[in-house]
């Protein structure tokens, strides 16, 4: 018989994995892994701000992530700094400011490990509400942007010439990613958010021949990783967030045993 908190952990993990699949696919296709990291690191600043201003922590995290997404959207248009340098500054700057502020708060004792590596076993009803409520909205938004986003992923200028509102779609996508990161943080922690985005997607690549199949497979593989990870964590008394990521990594390695499924053989011979 499952304990209540294990059930909640599973539900939360599955919810997060479902969202992470399609977003992670885009993160992989568009090489945004570092961008995801930056978003996640800034979440700690959100936590600190939440404590400082007595805000709901999830809300504060979402707020900071959104603001950073906008900053980066405009920041990447300048040509002064390469975008990975810019991301590095934002990423580590935000993380460090968050740590400094948290450490200097009087009378606040924060379980830093829970924020850095997640505390999936402490997922409560309210958290599930956030995950499935915001998660549903985020997935709906991605579905709405799906076709133009694919077009932009192939070639931005081509998409623009063909009438896609590239800037608007990109900005909306960044905001959705920020929301995703904010709710994922609960489960795997801000240091491991990117891993749950990219590892299942990278695993799914071998088995997919369309973008949609890859996104769905990534979700399913993520769910598997959550199940295996939580079971393992329970069984071996290991930290849950990292266990989920270990499970995802093992699944990735397992996937390498299968031949890559691309339809290379389908070329007709004239």
């Amino acid at each position: 018989m499952l304990d209540d908190f294990v059930l909640r952990a599973l539900l939360g993990g599955v919810g997060v994995a479902l969202i992470a699949g399609p977003f992670g696919s885009f993160v992989v296709w568009r090489r945004l892994a570092y961008f995801g990291d930056t978003m996640a690191h800034s979440a700690l600043l959100g936590v600190a701000l939440g404590f400082l201003l007595h805000l709901n922590l999830t809300f504060a995290v979402i707020l900071v992530c959104q603001m950073l997404a906008l900053l980066l959207f405009f920041g990447q248009r300048q040509r002064f700094l390469a975008s990975d340098t810019l991301l590095g500054i934002f990423s580590h700057g935000a993380l460090s400011i968050g740590l400094v502020v948290l450490a200097s708060l009087d009378g606040v004792r924060v379980d830093l490990m829970a924020y850095l590596f997640g505390d999936i076993l402490a997922v409560g009803r309210a958290d599930l509400g956030w995950i499935f409520g915001v998660g549903g909205v985020v997935l709906a938004g991605l579905l709405w942007l799906w076709r133009p986003l694919l077009a932009i992923t192939v070639h931005e200028d081509l998409a623009r010439v063909e009438g896609v509102a590239v800037d608007r779609v990109n900005a909306a996508f960044l905001l959705l990613i920020a929301l995703t990161v904010a709710i994922m943080m609960k489960v795997v922690g801000l240091l491991l958010v990117t891993s749950l985005l990219i590892i299942p997607a990278a695993t799914a690549r071998r088995f997919a021949c369309t973008p949609e199949i890859m996104a769905v497979f990534a979700s399913l593989i993520g769910c598997c990783a959550v199940g295996v990870g939580i079971y393992g964590s329970f069984h071996f008394d290991t930290p849950a967030g990292p266990s989920v990521v270990v499970a995802a990594s093992l699944l990735f390695l397992l996937g390498l045993l299968f031949p890559q499924r691309v339809n290379e053989g389908s070329r007709k011979v004239r």
């Binding site: 992989v28 296709w29 568009r30 090489r31 076709r147 694919l150 077009a151 992923t153 192939v154 070639h155 200028d157 081509l158 998409a159 623009r160 010439v161 063909e162 009438g163 896609v164 997607a201 990278a202 690549r205 997919a208 021949c209 369309t210 973008p211 199949i213 890859m214 691309v262 339809n263 290379e264 389908s266 070329r267 007709k268 011979v269 004239r270």
Partner: protein, 252 residues
């Protein structure tokens, strides 16, 4: 014969980035049924001018006028698709074009790439990729085709084929073509007008007129020497005592 409809008109286009004048005072008119080719050395602003013409880049000064509602087919220089992005040619062609499947195959046959319909985009050869890109541009039934180095990464035979294909497309559809070419010679048989670009317009006109223009000879003479220099025995050769190259005798 009534004068054909103007689809694109650039007037006094200047583009300054920082202190560099990327484009300087460029005029260009493109009429229906006409093929105009931009040639010039690396960094001459060819692609920049295309992007200005497409409205992707705002010029510092000058005016871009496209015929209202003109349908544009654009073939970008290169697709850089991540190997993790699973995309077949069929899916690529269907993107952004509410094109029916039944139009796809005849078009691929027309450009000579029907055998790759179900292949992943990443598996195409250079020539196949260019043909598929052209097919995607043609799916929009364009009045104006904008091609950025359409023969890039294609061997010489393939280049001749592609230029012939572009001429055929123009004849059959009576669309205007604006293209960028790196190649100096093959393209001459496939174009009505040449614009020789090096930040500003060095010279322009029919291929015959341009190839005898001193400015053209100077530019291509130099460029021919530069490309020949790879095979040259004398690393310290100087352009000014290499007069043989200037008359274009190395032109192939």
């Amino acid at each position: 014969m009534s004068s054909p409809e103007i689809l694109l008109e650039l007037t006094a286009i200047t583009l300054i980035r920082g202190r560099r004048h990327l484009l300087q005072d460029i005029d260009l008119q493109l009429a229906r049924g006409e093929i105009v080719t931009l040639i010039g050395p690396n960094g001459a602003g060819k692609t920049t001018l295309l992007r200005v013409a497409l409205g992707l880049l705002a010029p510092t000064s000058g005016e871009v006028q496209r015929k209202a509602g003109v349908r544009i087919g654009y073939m970008p220089q290169q697709l850089q698709i991540d190997p993790t992005f699973p995309l077949t040619v069929k899916r690529f062609l269907a993107m952004n074009n509410r094109a029916q499947q039944e139009r796809m195959l005849p078009l691929l046959e027309e450009v000579g790439a029907d055998q790759v319909l179900d292949s992943p985009l990443q598996n195409l050869s250079g020539g196949e990729m260019q043909r598929v890109l052209l097919a995607r541009a043609l799916l929009r039934e364009p009045e104006l085709l904008v091609l950025d180095e359409p023969v890039q990464g294609v061997d010489v035979h393939g280049q001749i084929d592609l230029y012939q294909l572009i001429s055929r497309v123009r004849e059959q559809r009576n669309c205007a073509v604006l293209m960028v070419s790196h190649d100096l010679h093959l393209v001459m048989s496939a174009t009505d007008r040449v614009l020789c670009l090096n930040g500003h317009i060095c010279c322009s006109g029919t291929p015959e007129a341009v190839t005898s223009n001193p400015a053209f000879i100077e530019m291509f003479g130099l460029q021919a020497i530069e490309s020949l220099a790879i095979y040259s025995h004398d690393k310290n050769h100087r352009h000014d005592n290499c007069s043989g190259c200037k008359d274009g005798s190395h032109a192939r």
